[in-house]
């Protein structure tokens, strides 16, 4: 690559790629500080039990063991979590799921650590446990939190429009469906990792694989009993996260360890098995729908009941429920609706944020219902969607006003005009022997940002360095999506500098500014807008100073060029280095705050649901098309072609845009086809990548991606593209499979086993079953 400027809208190769591909980019897992101790935890053997006694003396005696710590060693509240602080760093009175951390051990090496962990004895009084969210709602169910007024119900909420369920009787066609969606494990390649130490000024420094360095600092302050200014968290590039590092993973344990390590640094890095055992998952969901339309296929009424299993701790479960409800009616105008949702504690693994954040579950439901109803009404699935899809100014069935750019109809039409759709019947008819083919489509959206109550704020900071180059202080972690390379692209555009003229500081609570989490399709939308403001201010300051220094120059005649300011009338130049040297540090640094637009909802909605994010204002949209071929002998599903048409606003960098679309689709394919994260009675049965099957390079076809570029208020007209891709493979492929089989499989993932069962139970094919 040359050093030429790459205008916004064109490909700029990622500035992080070279170091990553050489193996020299340092991830949290790559830090091995001098004199470090290994940290590890003894986790609960029971799903629900009172801790009676912890015997650590034998562990302490193991050669090489530096400390053995329990909840009694924690000075603070020993609770982390947002918005509810309910998760202990180390379990104190009781454990609520298998995998709960109970004892922390610090040791010279991994062998001593392992041996010491084995020698810890914990006496438990086993308590009755509950593993099914519907069981957990029954009056006599065992309680995870005895004092909670809501008992095992973390959050419930309803959305009502028009006459709700009563209008179903006015519909010409009504269909019903009950869907069971599986757990999904993030399975980022870099498992939870970090290092911590107390520096010479007494500050606890933690470098961790985290999406939320600033929030972590606040939570750690509370949990460990340290003032926030005595904690510094830095977030290097993450080896993947997808929502699984949206909050504390090992940070509390690392902090605690560093406070009891005798001034030695501490490192923790979970094994794959421990990661699967202890990390959060996508909420498994049960959805029960009724959907009805008129003779002409106009949607009239919908009811939907959602039950989410949120596991043992709140984490972001409530906010995920709000998102499921918001997306449960999809992109359609439905005047009469009753949606009801329950997010329930159980003694299972914790469910929390995962790319899409509830939207994939809601859309998996509604988009299969749309196909069932279109089929019932005898209308082609895309035409049916087009009849009912929202335009800007319309309100969705969930009661969300589409106040901003709304490109779903353009997406649907683009797919409708695509040869894969036009020629679908020929393709289906040409299935080889022992194969069945089907074509499915799905449409949907993804809300961006935090919603109406919690302000979505980003604070950008940028600096003209003494040598005339620039530094960007990133406030939002980059878990792989490329927001930090994009920051360089954006700043380069505003300041008219080449990528090499920038250095980028990864998020560091010591020098960068809090800008929210790396999540919610918001990173470039919010931080990018703040960065544009900071760069524009800095540019003005530089040009103003150039006027001061170049006597007789006028602001409007000056051009900020690479490394210099040029007076276009006289041809005189002054270097940025000279300008920088005339400035104080304060002048060289520019800070700008941006608050993302939020919806002010007119209708009355449960205040908790509002607080947790309902409704959003900015949405990305998409329509997906899947062509599948099923092997009648093995039950295996092959996705032969896949098309995504996406409205994520204007495209800043086509390469990064496609990366997000491709990655989202393939993670969504895993969700619907192979990723069967099994938890039985609180026991995690998938403990490695041999039993939890991720898509590999041979499992997927080349993907096609089309864009509809509506203009929105993100940087240069963009909208978030990080999540929308994962939302539709589940329903699009399910719809394709249902067409191929002649009946629908209501429980996911659609493993070969389930397909075979379906084929064998009705070998001649037939209508859909429940």
């Amino acid at each position: 690559m040359t050093e030429a400027l790459a205008p916004i809208g064109t490909v700029l190769t990622r500035s992080d790629a070279s170091a990553k591909v050489q193996g020299c980019e340092k991830y949290a897992a790559d830090y091995y500080p001098q004199g470090m101790l290994w940290a590890g935890v003894k986790r609960s053997a029971y799903a629900h039990a009172k801790i009676l006694r912890i015997e650590t003396s034998k562990a302490v005696e193991v050669t090489g063991v530096a400390a053995v710590l329990t909840s009694g060693d924690i000075r603070g509240s020993n609770r982390v979590g947002v918005p509810e602080m309910d998760q202990p760093v180390l379990a104190d009175d009781k454990v609520r799921c298998k995998g709960d951390p109970v004892v922390l051990v610090l040791a010279e090496n991994k062998k001593a650590l392992e041996l010491a962990l084995e020698k810890i004895e914990i006496d438990y009084e086993v308590l009755p446990a509950v593993f099914d969210p519907r069981e957990a709602l029954k009056p006599d169910a065992p309680l995870l939190y005895e004092q909670r007024p809501g008992k095992n119900l973390l959050l419930s909420g309803t959305l009502e429009r028009g006459n709700g369920a009563a209008s179903l009787k006015d519909c010409k066609f009504v269909v019903e469906g009950r869907f069971k969606l599986p757990w999904q494990e993030h399975a980022y390649l870099e498992t939870e990792a970090g290092v911590a130490g107390i520096n010479s000024e007494g500050i606890l420094e933690i470098t961790a694989s985290t999406q939320t360095p600033f929030r972590d600092r606040n939570e750690l302050s509370h949990a460990l009993g340290l003032p926030a200014d005595k904690i510094r968290v830095t977030a290097p590039y993450l080896g993947g996260a997808f929502g699984g590092k949206d909050g504390i993973t090992v940070q509390g344990l690392l902090g605690l360890g560093a406070m009891h390590s005798g001034d030695r640094p501490v490192k923790m890095w979970t094994s794959r098995e421990e990661s699967f055992l202890s990390s959060t998952k996508r909420h498994p969901a049960e959805l029960h729908y009724r959907l009805g339309c008129t003779q002409d296929g106009i949607l009239l009424a919908m009811t939907c009941e959602v039950v989410l299993d949120t596991g043992a701790y709140a984490a972001l479960g409530g906010a995920v429920l709000a998102m499921v409800l918001e997306h449960a009616a999809g992109v359609y105008r439905i005047p009469n609706v009753f949606i009801e949702g329950f997010c329930v504690y159980t003694n299972n693994s914790v469910a929390s944020a995962f790319r899409g954040f509830g939207a994939p579950q809601g859309l998996a439901g509604i988009e299969q219902m749309i196909d069932l109803l279109a089929d019932e009404a005898g209308i082609d699935a895309l035409k049916f969607r087009l009849k009912n899809a929202v335009n800007r100014g319309d309100t969705t069935g969930s009661g969300v006003l589409m106040s901003n750019s709304t490109g779903i109809i353009s997406c649907l039409k683009k797919v409708q005009r695509h040869p894969l759709w036009i020629n679908r019947q020929d393709w289906v008819n040409n299935a080889p022997a022992f194969k069945k083919r089907g074509v499915g489509t799905a449409a949907g959206m993804q809300g961006t940002g935090y919603g109406p109550v919690i302000l979505d704020i980003a604070n950008a900071k940028t600096e003209l360095l003494p040598d005339g180059r620039f530094r960007i202080y990133s406030g939002v972690a980059d878990m792989g999506q490329g927001n930090n390379p994009t920051n360089i692209h954006i700043a380069g555009e505003i300041l008219n500098q080449a990528p090499k003229d920038f250095e980028l500081l990864q998020p560091d609570t010591g020098s960068c500014l809090p800008s929210g989490s790396s999540s919610a399709s918001r990173t470039t939308f919010s931080f990018g807008n703040a960065l544009i403001g900071a760069c524009k201010n800095l540019k003005e300051r530089i040009l103003t100073r150039a006027c001061n220094l170049m006597m007789g120059a006028y602001f409007e005649n000056l051009l900020l060029a690479r490394g210099k300011v040029l007076d276009m009338t006289s041809g005189r130049e002054i270097s940025l280095q000279a300008i920088a040297s005339s400035m104080t540090e304060q002048e060289r640094i520019s800070i700008f705050s941006y608050i993302a637009p939020a919806a002010k909802h007119p209708e009355s909605v449960n205040s908790e649901i509002r607080f947790l994010g309902f409704p959003h204002r900015i949405f990305s949209f998409a329509c997906h098309l899947a062509l599948v071929e099923i092997d009648e002998l093995s039950g295996e599903i092959e996705v032969c072609d896949y098309l995504a048409c996406t409205d994520a606003g204007r495209i800043l960098n086509p390469q990064i845009y496609e990366q997000q679309i491709h990655g989202g689709i393939v993670q969504g394919m895993g969700y619907v086809l192979w990723e069967d994260f099994r938890i039985h009675n609180g026991d995690v049965l998938c403990r490695n990548l041999a039993t939890y099957i991720l898509p590999t390079a041979v499992d997927i076809p080349d993907l096609q991606s089309l864009a509809v570029e509506t203009e929105e208020t993100g940087p240069f007209g963009m909208k978030g593209v990080g999540e929308i891709g994962i939302n539709l493979p589940y329903p699009a492929i399910s719809n394709a499979v249902a067409q191929a089989l002649g009946r629908r499989i209501y429980e996911g993932p659609l493993t070969a086993e389930r397909v075979l069962k379906c084929l064998n139970s009705n070998p001649t094919g037939g209508k859909s079953e429940d």
């Binding site: 790629a17 050489q22 790559d30 870099e190 993947g240 491709h662 490695n688 990548l689």
Partner: protein, 153 residues
């Protein structure tokens, strides 16, 4: 025990336990952390290295197996400050997102192109099917390897 082997073209002699995993030897004892660990059980491919030019998983190899062999890690691919054509293609084709699988993926691709200089897309897909990537959806990785093959040919 004392073992000696060639690491990225340099002879190394090191005192180590014979059952030390090669990945630990690299990352913890020799301090070169380009080789990643994603599973520790040979399922993800992140720890792929070349042993005498052939791709192997360093989480499944023990130190004693290195005796007298030549090992190439991701750090050994850069020659005279220049990226290997596979690395270059990964950068220019956008094959890198979080990048944690990239070193292993690149090593598998280098191994493939040594055996099969002009592989088709399906052959490339098969060759890297032991390397999991959770970010990219693989397509740009396949594009990159195909382009590197043309460049090397």
């Amino acid at each position: 025990m004392k073992i000696s082997f060639r690491l990225n073209e340099k002879m190394i002699e090191i005192e180590t336990a014979p059952d030390r995993r090669v990945i630990d030897l690299l990352r913890e004892d020799l301090g070169i952390t380009g080789t990643k660990e994603g599973c520790g059980s040979g399922e993800c491919g992140a720890c792929t290295v070349l042993i005498d030019g052939v791709s192997k998983l360093s989480c499944l190899m023990l130190a004693a197996q290195l005796e007298g062999r030549s090992i190439t890690t991701i750090e050994g691919l850069v020659q005279d400050g220049k990226l290997h054509p596979v690395q270059k293609a990964f950068v220019s084709h956008g094959a890198v997102q979080c990048g944690f699988c990239s070193p292993g993926m690149v090593m598998s691709a280098v191994d493939l192109l040594q055996r099969n200089p002009l592989p088709g897309r399906q052959e490339i897909r098969r060759a890297v099917s032991g390397n999991l990537c959770r970010c990219t959806g693989y397509q740009k990785i396949i594009d990159a390897i195909q382009s590197a093959a043309k460049e090397l040919d």
